[in-house]
Protein backbone atom coordinates (compact mmCIF):
# COMPACT_ATOMS: atom_id res chain seq x y z
CA UNK A 1 0.00 0.00 0.00
CA UNK A 2 2.82 2.37 0.88
CA UNK A 3 4.60 1.56 -2.38
CA UNK A 4 1.34 2.28 -4.29
CA UNK A 5 1.20 5.64 -2.53
CA UNK A 6 4.80 6.36 -3.46
CA UNK A 7 4.12 5.44 -7.09
CA UNK A 8 1.08 7.75 -7.21
CA UNK A 9 3.03 10.59 -5.63
CA UNK A 10 5.84 10.10 -8.13
CA UNK A 11 3.39 10.16 -11.06
CA UNK A 12 1.85 13.44 -9.85
CA UNK A 13 5.33 14.96 -9.53
CA UNK A 14 6.24 13.89 -13.06
CA UNK A 15 2.97 15.25 -14.45
CA UNK A 16 3.51 18.59 -12.77
CA UNK A 17 7.07 19.17 -13.95
CA UNK A 18 7.76 21.91 -16.45
CA UNK A 19 11.53 21.98 -16.08
CA UNK A 20 12.26 22.53 -19.73
CA UNK A 21 9.99 25.59 -19.91
CA UNK A 22 11.83 27.28 -17.04
CA UNK A 23 15.21 26.52 -18.61
CA UNK A 24 14.06 27.74 -22.01
CA UNK A 25 12.78 31.06 -20.62
CA UNK A 26 16.03 31.58 -18.69
CA UNK A 27 18.11 30.66 -21.76
CA UNK A 28 16.22 33.21 -23.86
CA UNK A 29 16.69 35.89 -21.18
CA UNK A 30 20.43 35.11 -21.07
CA UNK A 31 20.89 35.22 -24.84
CA UNK A 32 18.84 38.41 -25.27
CA UNK A 33 21.07 40.04 -22.61
CA UNK A 34 24.14 39.80 -24.86
CA UNK A 35 23.29 42.71 -27.21
CA UNK A 36 22.17 44.82 -24.24
CA UNK A 37 25.54 44.21 -22.60
CA UNK A 38 27.45 44.75 -25.88
CA UNK A 39 25.84 48.04 -26.86
CA UNK A 40 25.20 49.32 -23.33
CA UNK A 41 28.83 48.92 -22.26
CA UNK A 42 30.89 52.04 -21.70
CA UNK A 43 34.53 51.47 -22.69
CA UNK A 44 37.41 53.89 -22.41
CA UNK A 45 40.78 52.62 -23.62
CA UNK A 46 43.82 54.59 -22.47
CA UNK A 47 47.05 55.20 -24.43
CA UNK A 48 48.94 52.83 -22.11
CA UNK A 49 46.84 49.95 -23.44
CA UNK A 50 44.67 49.58 -20.35
CA UNK A 51 40.90 49.96 -20.64
CA UNK A 52 38.15 51.04 -18.28
CA UNK A 53 34.64 49.73 -18.80
CA UNK A 54 31.20 49.82 -17.17
CA UNK A 55 28.51 47.28 -18.04
CA UNK A 56 25.62 49.74 -17.83
CA UNK A 57 23.41 47.76 -20.21
CA UNK A 58 23.32 44.81 -17.82
CA UNK A 59 22.31 46.99 -14.92
CA UNK A 60 19.25 48.19 -16.82
CA UNK A 61 18.40 44.94 -18.59
CA UNK A 62 18.62 42.24 -15.92
CA UNK A 63 16.33 43.49 -13.14
CA UNK A 64 13.44 43.92 -15.58
CA UNK A 65 14.31 40.81 -17.62
CA UNK A 66 14.61 38.49 -14.64
CA UNK A 67 11.41 39.83 -13.11
CA UNK A 68 9.57 39.21 -16.40
CA UNK A 69 11.21 35.79 -16.87
CA UNK A 70 10.23 34.55 -13.41
CA UNK A 71 6.71 35.93 -13.79
CA UNK A 72 6.39 34.16 -17.16
CA UNK A 73 7.67 30.89 -15.70
CA UNK A 74 5.23 31.11 -12.77
CA UNK A 75 2.26 31.81 -15.08
CA UNK A 76 3.25 29.00 -17.47
CA UNK A 77 3.58 26.56 -14.55
CA UNK A 78 0.16 27.44 -13.17
CA UNK A 79 -1.51 27.24 -16.58
CA UNK A 80 0.10 23.93 -17.54
CA UNK A 81 -0.70 22.32 -14.19
CA UNK A 82 -4.28 23.55 -14.42
CA UNK A 83 -4.66 22.16 -17.94
CA UNK A 84 -3.44 18.79 -16.65
CA UNK A 85 -5.92 18.90 -13.77
CA UNK A 86 -3.40 19.59 -11.02
CA UNK A 87 -2.60 22.34 -8.58
CA UNK A 88 0.94 23.62 -8.25
CA UNK A 89 3.24 25.24 -5.70
CA UNK A 90 4.66 28.18 -7.51
CA UNK A 91 4.80 30.83 -4.79
CA UNK A 92 8.24 29.89 -3.40
CA UNK A 93 9.63 30.07 -6.93
CA UNK A 94 8.04 33.47 -7.57
CA UNK A 95 9.50 34.75 -4.28
CA UNK A 96 12.95 33.42 -5.23
CA UNK A 97 12.59 35.11 -8.60
CA UNK A 98 11.74 38.45 -6.99
CA UNK A 99 14.63 38.19 -4.52
CA UNK A 100 17.17 37.15 -7.16
CA UNK A 101 15.96 39.93 -9.45
CA UNK A 102 16.83 42.44 -6.74
CA UNK A 103 20.12 40.85 -5.61
CA UNK A 104 22.15 41.95 -8.62
CA UNK A 105 21.21 45.67 -8.71
CA UNK A 106 21.36 45.82 -4.89
CA UNK A 107 24.92 44.39 -4.87
CA UNK A 108 25.90 46.74 -7.68
CA UNK A 109 24.55 49.83 -5.91
CA UNK A 110 26.09 48.75 -2.58
CA UNK A 111 29.54 48.26 -4.13
CA UNK A 112 29.27 51.54 -6.04
CA UNK A 113 28.35 53.39 -2.83
CA UNK A 114 31.16 51.68 -0.88
CA UNK A 115 33.90 52.46 -3.40
CA UNK A 116 32.75 56.07 -3.84
CA UNK A 117 34.44 56.92 -0.51
CA UNK A 118 36.78 53.95 -0.01
CA UNK A 119 39.95 53.20 -1.99
CA UNK A 120 40.06 50.19 -4.29
CA UNK A 121 42.03 47.39 -2.62
CA UNK A 122 45.63 47.08 -3.70
CA UNK A 123 46.99 43.78 -4.91
CA UNK A 124 45.05 40.75 -6.13
CA UNK A 125 41.66 40.09 -4.55
CA UNK A 126 41.07 36.77 -2.77
CA UNK A 127 39.49 33.96 -4.81
CA UNK A 128 36.30 33.87 -2.70
CA UNK A 129 35.66 37.49 -3.72
CA UNK A 130 35.41 36.45 -7.38
CA UNK A 131 33.11 33.54 -6.50
CA UNK A 132 30.84 35.83 -4.45
CA UNK A 133 30.89 38.41 -7.23
CA UNK A 134 29.83 35.77 -9.76
CA UNK A 135 27.13 34.45 -7.42
CA UNK A 136 25.29 37.78 -7.14
CA UNK A 137 25.47 38.31 -10.89
CA UNK A 138 22.34 37.32 -12.87
CA UNK A 139 23.85 34.01 -14.05
CA UNK A 140 24.69 32.96 -10.49
CA UNK A 141 21.18 33.91 -9.37
CA UNK A 142 19.74 31.75 -12.17
CA UNK A 143 21.60 28.82 -10.58
CA UNK A 144 20.06 29.59 -7.18
CA UNK A 145 16.57 29.76 -8.69
CA UNK A 146 17.20 26.39 -10.40
CA UNK A 147 18.08 24.87 -7.02
CA UNK A 148 14.76 26.16 -5.63
CA UNK A 149 12.92 24.76 -8.64
CA UNK A 150 14.63 21.37 -8.16
CA UNK A 151 13.40 21.35 -4.56
CA UNK A 152 9.86 22.35 -5.57
CA UNK A 153 9.71 19.74 -8.32
CA UNK A 154 11.48 17.13 -6.14
CA UNK A 155 13.63 16.67 -9.22
CA UNK A 156 17.07 15.05 -8.64
CA UNK A 157 18.04 15.45 -12.31
CA UNK A 158 17.43 19.20 -12.11
CA UNK A 159 19.36 19.34 -8.83
CA UNK A 160 22.36 17.73 -10.56
CA UNK A 161 21.98 20.10 -13.53
CA UNK A 162 21.79 23.14 -11.22
CA UNK A 163 24.89 22.02 -9.30
CA UNK A 164 26.84 21.56 -12.56
CA UNK A 165 25.56 24.88 -13.87
CA UNK A 166 26.58 26.70 -10.67
CA UNK A 167 30.05 25.12 -10.81
CA UNK A 168 30.35 26.38 -14.38
CA UNK A 169 29.30 29.99 -13.70
CA UNK A 170 31.03 30.33 -10.32
CA UNK A 171 34.27 28.44 -10.83
CA UNK A 172 34.96 28.06 -14.55
CA UNK A 173 33.63 30.89 -16.70
CA UNK A 174 34.93 34.46 -16.20
CA UNK A 175 31.42 35.94 -15.93
CA UNK A 176 32.55 39.17 -14.26
CA UNK A 177 35.61 40.16 -16.26
CA UNK A 178 35.24 38.17 -19.48
CA UNK A 179 37.82 36.33 -21.55
CA UNK A 180 40.77 38.66 -21.75
CA UNK A 181 43.04 40.10 -24.41
CA UNK A 182 44.97 39.46 -26.60
CA UNK A 183 42.53 36.98 -28.11
CA UNK A 184 39.34 38.91 -27.46
CA UNK A 185 38.27 42.54 -27.28
CA UNK A 186 36.41 43.65 -24.18
CA UNK A 187 32.93 43.33 -25.66
CA UNK A 188 33.55 39.94 -27.26
CA UNK A 189 35.35 38.71 -24.15
CA UNK A 190 32.24 39.56 -22.10
CA UNK A 191 29.79 38.16 -24.65
CA UNK A 192 31.37 34.71 -24.95
CA UNK A 193 30.77 33.48 -21.37
CA UNK A 194 27.16 34.67 -21.65
CA UNK A 195 26.79 32.79 -24.93
CA UNK A 196 28.13 29.62 -23.30
CA UNK A 197 25.71 29.99 -20.37
CA UNK A 198 22.78 30.58 -22.74
CA UNK A 199 23.67 27.51 -24.79
CA UNK A 200 24.05 25.36 -21.66
CA UNK A 201 20.57 26.43 -20.48
CA UNK A 202 19.18 25.81 -23.94
CA UNK A 203 20.70 22.34 -24.10
CA UNK A 204 19.33 21.66 -20.63
CA UNK A 205 15.86 22.71 -21.82
CA UNK A 206 16.03 20.35 -24.81
CA UNK A 207 17.37 17.52 -22.64
CA UNK A 208 14.59 17.85 -20.06
CA UNK A 209 12.01 18.21 -22.82
CA UNK A 210 13.18 14.95 -24.40
CA UNK A 211 13.21 13.18 -21.06
CA UNK A 212 9.67 14.40 -20.30
CA UNK A 213 8.39 13.08 -23.63
CA UNK A 214 9.91 9.64 -23.17
CA UNK A 215 7.21 7.03 -22.56
CA UNK A 216 7.08 6.01 -18.90
Amino acid sequence: MLSDMRALTHRVRLDRRMTWTALLVLAVATLVAIPFDWFGMWVNCLPDGGCQFARNGMLWYWPAASFLAYAAIAVLYVRAARARGLGTRVLPYAITGAVTSLAFPAAWVALDAYFSDHPYPEGPLPYWWFVLDRLVMPWGMIGISLLVLAWLERNPALLAFAAGYLALVLLVLPMGDGFGSPHFGIRLGMALPQLIVGVVLLLGAFGFRRAARRPR
Binding site: D4, L8, G85, T88
Partner: protein, 113 residues
Protein backbone atom coordinates in the same frame (compact mmCIF):
# COMPACT_ATOMS: atom_id res chain seq x y z
CA UNK B 1 -13.66 8.06 12.57
CA UNK B 2 -14.22 4.33 12.61
CA UNK B 3 -11.54 1.80 13.26
CA UNK B 4 -11.17 -1.46 11.33
CA UNK B 5 -11.05 -3.38 14.58
CA UNK B 6 -12.05 -2.02 17.90
CA UNK B 7 -10.70 -4.41 20.49
CA UNK B 8 -9.74 -3.10 23.89
CA UNK B 9 -7.09 -4.62 26.11
CA UNK B 10 -3.55 -5.75 25.53
CA UNK B 11 -3.71 -5.20 21.75
CA UNK B 12 -5.21 -1.70 21.98
CA UNK B 13 -1.86 -0.09 21.14
CA UNK B 14 -1.41 -2.20 18.00
CA UNK B 15 -1.26 0.07 14.91
CA UNK B 16 -3.99 -1.95 13.19
CA UNK B 17 -6.45 -0.70 15.80
CA UNK B 18 -5.91 2.86 14.78
CA UNK B 19 -6.46 2.35 11.05
CA UNK B 20 -9.43 4.39 9.90
CA UNK B 21 -11.56 2.44 7.45
CA UNK B 22 -12.67 5.59 5.65
CA UNK B 23 -9.03 6.35 4.85
CA UNK B 24 -7.58 2.86 4.72
CA UNK B 25 -9.66 1.71 1.73
CA UNK B 26 -7.29 1.42 -1.28
CA UNK B 27 -9.06 3.82 -3.67
CA UNK B 28 -9.77 6.44 -1.01
CA UNK B 29 -6.17 6.29 0.15
CA UNK B 30 -5.17 6.85 -3.50
CA UNK B 31 -7.47 9.88 -3.74
CA UNK B 32 -6.00 11.37 -0.57
CA UNK B 33 -2.43 10.68 -1.70
CA UNK B 34 -2.85 12.30 -5.11
CA UNK B 35 -4.75 15.27 -3.69
CA UNK B 36 -2.13 15.79 -0.99
CA UNK B 37 0.71 15.86 -3.51
CA UNK B 38 -1.16 17.95 -6.09
CA UNK B 39 -2.71 20.39 -3.55
CA UNK B 40 -5.72 20.56 -5.85
CA UNK B 41 -6.76 17.94 -8.36
CA UNK B 42 -9.34 17.68 -11.07
CA UNK B 43 -11.89 14.85 -11.17
CA UNK B 44 -10.73 13.64 -14.62
CA UNK B 45 -7.09 13.41 -13.52
CA UNK B 46 -8.04 11.30 -10.50
CA UNK B 47 -10.23 9.03 -12.63
CA UNK B 48 -7.37 8.41 -15.08
CA UNK B 49 -4.67 7.88 -12.46
CA UNK B 50 -6.77 5.58 -10.30
CA UNK B 51 -8.33 3.82 -13.32
CA UNK B 52 -11.89 4.19 -12.05
CA UNK B 53 -15.25 4.80 -13.62
CA UNK B 54 -16.82 8.19 -12.99
CA UNK B 55 -19.55 6.62 -10.86
CA UNK B 56 -17.12 4.67 -8.73
CA UNK B 57 -14.90 7.69 -8.13
CA UNK B 58 -17.95 9.83 -7.24
CA UNK B 59 -19.00 7.29 -4.63
CA UNK B 60 -15.60 7.31 -2.96
CA UNK B 61 -15.43 11.09 -3.09
CA UNK B 62 -18.83 11.33 -1.40
CA UNK B 63 -17.57 9.13 1.46
CA UNK B 64 -14.49 11.32 1.88
CA UNK B 65 -16.51 14.53 1.63
CA UNK B 66 -19.03 13.34 4.23
CA UNK B 67 -16.13 12.51 6.55
CA UNK B 68 -14.86 16.06 6.07
CA UNK B 69 -11.56 14.90 4.55
CA UNK B 70 -11.90 16.53 1.13
CA UNK B 71 -13.59 19.58 -0.29
CA UNK B 72 -15.29 19.38 -3.69
CA UNK B 73 -15.63 22.49 -5.81
CA UNK B 74 -17.60 22.48 -9.04
CA UNK B 75 -17.14 25.12 -11.67
CA UNK B 76 -16.82 25.88 -15.35
CA UNK B 77 -13.86 26.63 -17.58
CA UNK B 78 -15.38 27.99 -20.75
CA UNK B 79 -18.27 25.65 -21.46
CA UNK B 80 -16.60 22.70 -19.84
CA UNK B 81 -17.63 21.69 -16.34
CA UNK B 82 -14.74 20.87 -14.02
CA UNK B 83 -14.71 19.46 -10.53
CA UNK B 84 -11.74 20.20 -8.31
CA UNK B 85 -10.92 18.29 -5.16
CA UNK B 86 -8.84 19.66 -2.28
CA UNK B 87 -7.72 18.12 0.97
CA UNK B 88 -9.15 19.66 4.15
CA UNK B 89 -6.95 20.09 7.26
CA UNK B 90 -8.70 16.99 8.68
CA UNK B 91 -7.77 15.16 5.45
CA UNK B 92 -4.11 16.09 5.87
CA UNK B 93 -4.14 14.84 9.45
CA UNK B 94 -5.95 11.62 8.55
CA UNK B 95 -3.49 10.87 5.76
CA UNK B 96 -0.48 11.55 7.98
CA UNK B 97 -1.98 9.29 10.69
CA UNK B 98 -2.60 6.53 8.18
CA UNK B 99 0.96 6.68 6.84
CA UNK B 100 2.32 6.69 10.38
CA UNK B 101 0.27 3.63 11.33
CA UNK B 102 1.24 1.74 8.17
CA UNK B 103 4.90 2.43 8.91
CA UNK B 104 4.47 1.27 12.51
CA UNK B 105 2.79 -1.87 11.25
CA UNK B 106 5.64 -2.62 8.85
CA UNK B 107 8.20 -1.95 11.58
CA UNK B 108 6.43 -4.40 13.91
CA UNK B 109 6.24 -7.09 11.21
CA UNK B 110 9.91 -6.60 10.34
CA UNK B 111 10.90 -6.84 14.00
CA UNK B 112 9.12 -10.23 13.98
CA UNK B 113 6.87 -9.54 16.95
Amino acid sequence: MTAVTGTEGPDAAHPVNGLDEVVHQRVRLGILTVTHEARRVEFGYLRTQLELTAGNLSKHLSVLEEAGLVGVEKGYEGKRGRTWITLTPAGHTALADEIGRLKQLIARVEMGE
